[in-house]
């Protein structure tokens, strides 16, 4: 009899078709508790779609997703978050007419019904993400760097075990990027598993323990970061045949 350890998070042969377009085609990977997986691929390769599938925004066409031994791909988005998977959005979605603090409190309410507990928890997280000074500001008035940070803070407030980060460093200047990497490392050190989509190699290489490269919704290669970014197919996907 085959004895198999149940993975903390496992994606099994998932497929997503939008009409005739196959956005995600037979992707599989596993992730252990507290580890970081980098997800790379050219624009339109299906990275955000993959997040939308894990997160339950779209139903799968085929395949399964398991989290902590439980099948989650049929659950609604809010249940998936309750089980411990939180995400940020590439196109940030701040709750604009709420203050920064209230945004994070909205996340913290997942684990408590008490306003004072949620507030306390939100203040700690704002501190963790270096946003304390802006807590009374309307979220709609934040700069893009702070909005990206708010996305992370709000997701952390739901106390996830797995965090999906969608291009957290896009549009940030070098200094802000450095700070973002610092926050991601702090989250990893807190024992939260991360799947990170990113175009900035500095960020991906700085935090990932494993990388999955995809193109046209298909896996090109997955494995050690160095190995993956030097893989001829990956170079070809980004730069064309000439460089491979």
């Amino acid at each position: 009899m085959e004895v198999r350890k149940v993975a903390f998070f496992e994606v099994k042969h998932i497929v997503k078709n939008f009409g005739g377009l196959c956005a995600v085609n037979d992707i599989s990977f596993t992730l252990e508790k507290g580890r970081v997986l980098g997800l790379i691929g050219p624009n339109g390769s299906g990275k955000t779609t993959l997040f939308n599938l894990i997160n339950g925004f779209f139903p799968l066409t085929a395949g399964e997703i398991h989290f902590k031994g439980r099948r989650i791909d049929l659950l609604p988005t809010h249940m998936i978050c309750t089980l411990g998977i939180a995400r940020t959005f590439q196109v940030v979605k701040p709750l604009k007419r709420m203050s920064v603090l209230e945004n994070v409190m909205a996340g913290a309410f997942l684990r408590t019904a008490s306003v004072s507990v949620a507030r306390q928890r939100a203040l700690e997280i704002l501190d963790f993400c270096d946003l304390s000074g802006k807590r009374e500001m309307d979220a709609g008035k934040l700069t893009i760097a702070d909005r990206k940070r708010l996305e992370i803070a709000r997701a952390l407030a739901t106390e996830p075990e797995l965090l999906l980060l969608d291009e957290t460093a896009a549009g940030l200047n070098p200094k802000e990027t450095e700070e973002a990497v610092e926050i991601i490392r702090k989250i990893r050190d807190a024992g939260i598993a991360i799947i990170i989509v990113e175009h900035k190699m500095k960020v991906i290489m700085g935090v990932s323990e494993k990388i999955l490269a995809i193109n046209f919704g298909r896996e090109i290669v997955q494995g050690e970061p160095r190995e993956v970014i030097n893989h001829p197919e990956v170079i070809k996907a980004y730069l064309g045949d000439y460089y491979a």
Binding site: F57, P76, H78, C81, A86, L95, R97, S99, A106, E136
Partner: protein
């Protein structure tokens, strides 16, 4: 200054108002203002805070009114029991309504609710055996003096304001506003959005039904074209809230006062042109006070605070 002082002052003024305006006509206007304030406050919970704009609140108003009316007309039970049963019926009906309509978002939800209000109007016109159709239901009120009605209406408004305030300051309020601001973001923060929208609708329908049942008792005559009216109830609730300020605590009450007083003034001075004058006024408000009176005042207050504190205060608990 303690935070509740202004509210206490407003309440004190409200308590003596009917002794200042002793003519029944003025007292009638005061009572009408209170009824509209209750309805506006109820609509504001769903439309203002939770962001689900309903064009069909006449359905819940009418259900409240007809529950009281039918109790009296068919079962010979005091229509005052309708004050208890009316809101219950309205919120009971709101559950299937919500489960169907909340599959739609934004303008589609608004249109579905509009259709719903019309459906109820037509059903109540044609279900003659139950509702006496367009002839309506008339009752003989036991109380004819205005003052008892005034204090009852004031109590209803108090109930509505306190209910909404408690909800808004709790976890519910945060979830309502987060749904309004971005439903997808809320859902991925673990907010069961459909369930919370249903809570908002339930509370809103309850309070609107309460206003309806009170209306039956006070006016003593209802017919479907009045209480299920699209233009005179469903749309007017929205205008009341917009005049005063969407998603503000006092907005609906202020809006109701302005709306009733102005529409009386226009009606007595301009006759049938009053609707036109009112329409122009609404356009002006939308153009120059898009946040409503209370909303604009708060913007000014915020700006002044920002200048004095150097930092900007904000949030959903404003008002």
């Amino acid at each position: 200054m303690k935070r509740w002082y202004p509210s206490a002052a407003v309440l004190a003024v409200a308590l003596v108002l009917p002794w200042i305006f002793r003519a029944p006509y003025y007292q009638h206007i005061l009572i009408t203002i209170l009824i509209w304030a209750v309805m506006g406050t109820a609509w504001n919970l769903l439309g203002g805070y939770a962001g689900q704009v309903s064009f069909g609140h006449a359905a819940f108003f009418g259900l409240g009114a007809y529950t009281a009316g039918i109790l009296a007309a068919h079962f010979n039970i005091s229509p005052w029991w309708g004050m208890l049963l009316g809101p219950l019926v309205a919120s009971l009906i709101s559950v299937p309504v919500g489960l169907i309509c909340f599959r739609l978002r934004g303008p589609y939800f608004a249109l579905a609710m509009l259709a719903l209000g019309e459906i109820f109007r037509l059903v109540f016109i044609n279900w003659v055996s139950l509702t006496s159709g367009a002839r309506g239901i008339m009752i003989i009120p036991r109380i004819t003096a205005k003052i008892p009605y005034y204090y009852m209406a004031l109590l209803l408004l108090l109930i509505a304001l306190v209910t909404v305030d408690l909800l808004i300051k709790s976890k519910c309020g945060f979830y309502f506003v987060s749904i309004r601001e971005d439903q997808d973001a809320a859902e991925s923060l673990g907010v069961p959005t459909t369930r919370y929208k249903l809570y908002a609708l339930l509370a809103s329908a309850f309070l609107t039904g309460l206003a309806g049942a009170f209306y039956m008792n006070y006016i003593a005559f209802i017919d479907p074209n009045v209480v299920f009216s699209l233009t005179n109830v469903s749309v007017m609730i929205i205008l009341v809230v917009m005049l005063g300020g969407v998603a503000t605590r006092w907005g609906p009450t202020v809006g109701a006062a302005i709306y009733i007083v102005l529409s009386e003034l226009f009606r007595t001075s301009l006759g049938s042109a009053s609707v036109l004058a009112f329409g122009v006024l609404v356009c002006l408000v939308i153009m120059f006070l898009p946040n409503g009176l209370v909303g604009e005042l708060e913007m000014v207050k915020k700006a002044i605070q920002a200048r004095t504190n150097g930092s900007e205060k904000s949030g959903l608990l404003r008002g």
